[in-house]
């Protein structure tokens, strides 16, 4: 255990801080004034797309997890917006780097990094959720093309995206996990219909997407025909890491502390109520435990040791904790916690209520809590596998 920074790392931290101080006029309230210009600036300095090769439009630095964390912490501390993090950047780009052809990498990565192409992810289907490998959207061969038929659901940003990376069954006679291909196509291809999917938050954070004979060249398959399941699993790893991020949880907890220190009932601060205070302290212990668990994972990633059980619990515990933080905020607000949408008494623009509902969705999405428990017990503890479970 040694949590001090070496002189080299301390100098790097100072460099990031200096950059943020010098560009404080480029963003306001945590959002860039010109998102694409900000993104280009970050890539140029290595604060976005840091380890992606220069040939593909990245900064080209050697992977250094600690530097990545120093950047993240400096940006959080300064309230500065991070680089873009859509599904294209966080999921497609790592996949292309791992298994894409040279032509695919050259064509797609750079404009995606610069924010010029927005992607959506076509994975889940009405009958293929936790059991994703049973997906039915399929392709019929037509010369050099596929004709895609079927539908996807839970597709965030499908209404905005120019492109989709999609799992499609292209080999009808192959076993379940070996008949799927990972394929890219433009969202303005004829035969695609996007319908917004309104959730309990009142907003349409997701969409349904329907395909009627959507013509896509076979050359758009990534990683080989029938290899889509394995290709997709490389990106699911990235998604699960993203969904339990302890930095985001810690930031949200601090907002809750501020809420409880400032809101009053009958002139008494919420934090002066011992019941609420005790609940706050219970959550703080969990937030800290996840934070230090994250530091432990950071070290194992640096030294190349397997993350083991400490890594497998992050999605399950992190998403649950986010939900609990929002729940305590609503309880602390009392009757004010009922308010939503708009109005003079509404706090934080209704974000606690929205998070409370949306975070429940994140407990379910990206592998449900129950699927996570299967993974922990089967892969982590070596307990017997579910007889028919997907190899997720």
């Amino acid at each position: 255990m040694d949590l001090t920074l070496t002189p080299e790392m301390a100098a790097f931290r100072d460099e990031v801080r200096a950059f943020l101080a010098a560009h404080a006029d480029d963003y306001v309230a945590g959002a860039p004034k010109d998102p694409r210009a900000w993104q280009r600036l970050l890539i140029e300095h290595g604060y976005a797309a840091r380890t992606i090769p220069r040939a593909y439009g990245g900064y080209g630095a050697e992977p250094d997890i600690l530097k990545g964390r120093i950047i993240a912490e400096a940006f959080i501390a300064a309230g500065a917006p991070r680089g873009m993090a859509g599904q294209g950047i966080s999921m497609l780009v790592p996949t292309l780097l791992e298994v894409g052809s040279e032509e695919q990498k050259t064509r797609w990565i750079a404009p995606t990094l610069r924010g010029e192409i927005l992607w959506c992810q076509g994975y889940s289907e009405p009958d293929a959720g936790s059991d994703l490998a049973s997906l039915k959207t399929h392709a019929v061969e037509d010369g050099d093309d596929f004709l895609i038929r079927g539908s996807k659901v839970w597709t965030s940003t499908a209404h905005l995206a120019q492109m989709m990376f999609c799992l499609v069954r292209t080999e009808p006679d192959a076993p379940k996990h070996e008949g799927i291909s990972y394929i890219l196509f433009p969202m303005d291809t004829p035969g695609i219909e996007v319908r917004p999917l309104k959730t309990m938050t009142g907003q349409a954070e997701f969409n349904e997407v329907f395909f009627t004979d959507v013509r896509v060249p076979k050359a758009n398959v990534v990683g080989g025909r029938g290899r889509g399941w394995f290709v997709a699993n490389t990106t699911l790893k990235h998604e699960r890491g993203m969904l339990g991020d302890p930095n985001a949880t810690e930031a949200r907890f601090e907002t809750l502390v501020q809420l409880m220190k400032t809101e009053t009932v009958d002139g008494q601060k919420i934090v002066d109520n011992p019941v609420f205070r005790d609940r706050l302290m219970q959550l703080q212990a969990r937030v800290l435990a996840m934070k230090f668990n994250g530091l432990r994972l950071l070290t194992s990633a640096q030294t190349g040791e397997p993350a083991g059980l400490a890594g497998l619990v992050v999605k399950l515990q992190g998403c649950e904790l986010n939900h609990q933080i929002a729940a305590l905020a609503i309880d602390a607000l009392g009757e004010l916690g009922i308010l939503y949408h708009d109005g003079p008494h509404l706090r934080a623009k209704g974000s606690w209520q929205r998070n409370y509902m949306f975070d429940l969705g994140l407990i379910i999405g990206g592998g449900t809590a129950q699927i996570q428990k299967n993974i922990i017990s089967e892969r982590g503890l070596g307990m017997p596998r579910e007889p028919s479970s997907a190899k997720a």
């Binding site: 949590l3 001090t4 302290m281 800290l288 432990r296 400490a310 017990s377 982590g380």
Partner: protein, 360 residues
């Protein structure tokens, strides 16, 4: 930056676990638990050979001179083995002397504590967990009067560190006049608690303003680590049993209802381990955070400890509650740790106070 145990630290923990497996297997623990006359001198002797009594005694006084993190790792190994050892005093005795002892006091006691010739115990419960049944010690003119309850190892300790009601600390020789000792039979038979009565007992004051706060933080980390070790064993035993026990023609570990209980134990335990490590590290390297982290480590391991103790027992089914299996030794160990030096509600209140959420 490195958030991981060093090779030396892993070796310390592994070798202590091996020494305990030999000197203090469950059958030996059972014998101790059943016989109040059993002083576990053989187990103590094995630990003396290991060097454990001197773990936090500075090297110049014959100890290993290690930090609280190493002491916490040792405590974790003791909890895992449900070892009948009053480890609290092994840490708090030398620590109190290092914090507030005069050169003469250090020279007199630290070598004896390091060699295991004298074992210390800390009478600090009233000042930390609150006074029960009118307990409490007052100091006047170099003499102590009053009662101290819930003293781990207090029945036999040759040196006592006593907190008075004003928060001052005193050193009392075990053979000083006016001390009456009575065991407090408890739930956990692997560690003996004592009630000590002082009637004008001569004492030497220890000088240090915040020494009691530091002892409290160290004690909380040590207790938290003991729970961690006991929890890991309860989890491991549950998983092993679920892989072996067959019902309905299959091992019960193939049922999701059982698998998920095991996964939930893991999900609670792994992050708690990082919290305990950090709390121990902060004690020596981040003093401004030490009290908050120690409080959270103590309170949080109490909560997850209760969950894991009952869940592991449930996974075992009926055999889990039998004396024959002996799982109850770990269950009770975790139960004692939860209450000792403050239950989680009280400790969380202090967590809120030390970070300024409520007035000190």
């Amino acid at each position: 930056m490195r958030f991981a145990l060093s090779e030396d630290q892993k070796m310390l923990q592994d070798s202590l676990a091996k020494a305990l497996a030999e000197a203090s297997p469950l059958d030996r623990v059972r014998k101790f638990a059943a016989d109040p006359k059993d002083k576990a001198a053989d187990i103590w002797q094995a630990l003396v050979e290991f060097g454990l009594p001197g773990i936090v005694v500075p090297e110049e006084f014959g100890g290993l001179g290690l930090s609280l993190l190493e002491a916490a790792l040792a405590s974790e190994a003791l909890g895992a083995a449900v070892a009948p050892v009053a480890f609290m005093g092994v840490v708090l005795g030398p620590l109190a002397l290092s914090l507030g002892g005069s050169e003469a006091q250090k020279a007199e006691w630290l070598p004896k504590l390091a060699s295991g010739e004298v074992v210390a115990a800390a009478c600090i419960s009233e000042q930390i967990a609150g006074a029960r049944d009118g307990a409490g010690v007052t100091a006047a003119d170099g003499r102590l009067t009053g009662k101290a309850l819930f003293v781990p190892g207090g029945g036999a300790a040759g040196l006592l560190v006593v907190a008075d009601q004003a928060g001052g600390l005193h050193l009392v020789r075990g053979d000083a006049p006016g001390i009456t000792r009575a065991l407090m039979p408890g739930l956990d038979d692997t560690r003996r608690l004592a009630e000590l009565t002082f009637a004008g007992t001569p004492a030497e004051p220890l000088q240090a303003n915040d020494a009691l706060g530091r002892l409290r933080d160290a004690a909380w980390v040590i207790v938290a680590a003991d729970t961690l070790g006991a929890c890991q064993v309860m989890l491991d035993k549950a998983v092993a049993y679920a892989k072996e026990r067959r019902q309905f023609g299959r091992v019960i570990g193939s049922f999701q209802a059982v698998k998920h209980l095991c996964a939930e134990m893991v999900a609670e335990l792994e992050p708690a381990r990082a919290l305990v490590w950090y709390a121990a590290y902060a004690f020596d390297h981040a003093p401004e955070e030490a009290s908050l982290m120690a409080a959270h480590a103590k309170a949080h391991t109490s909560e997850i400890g209760r969950f894991i103790a009952r869940t592991s027992t449930e996974v075992h089914g009926g055999i889990g509650i039998t004396d024959l299996l002996g799982l109850h030794f770990w269950f009770k160990r975790i139960g004692l740790n939860r209450q000792l030096l403050g239950g989680p509600e009280r400790v969380r209140e202090i967590a809120a106070r030390v970070q300024g959420l409520i007035p000190a």
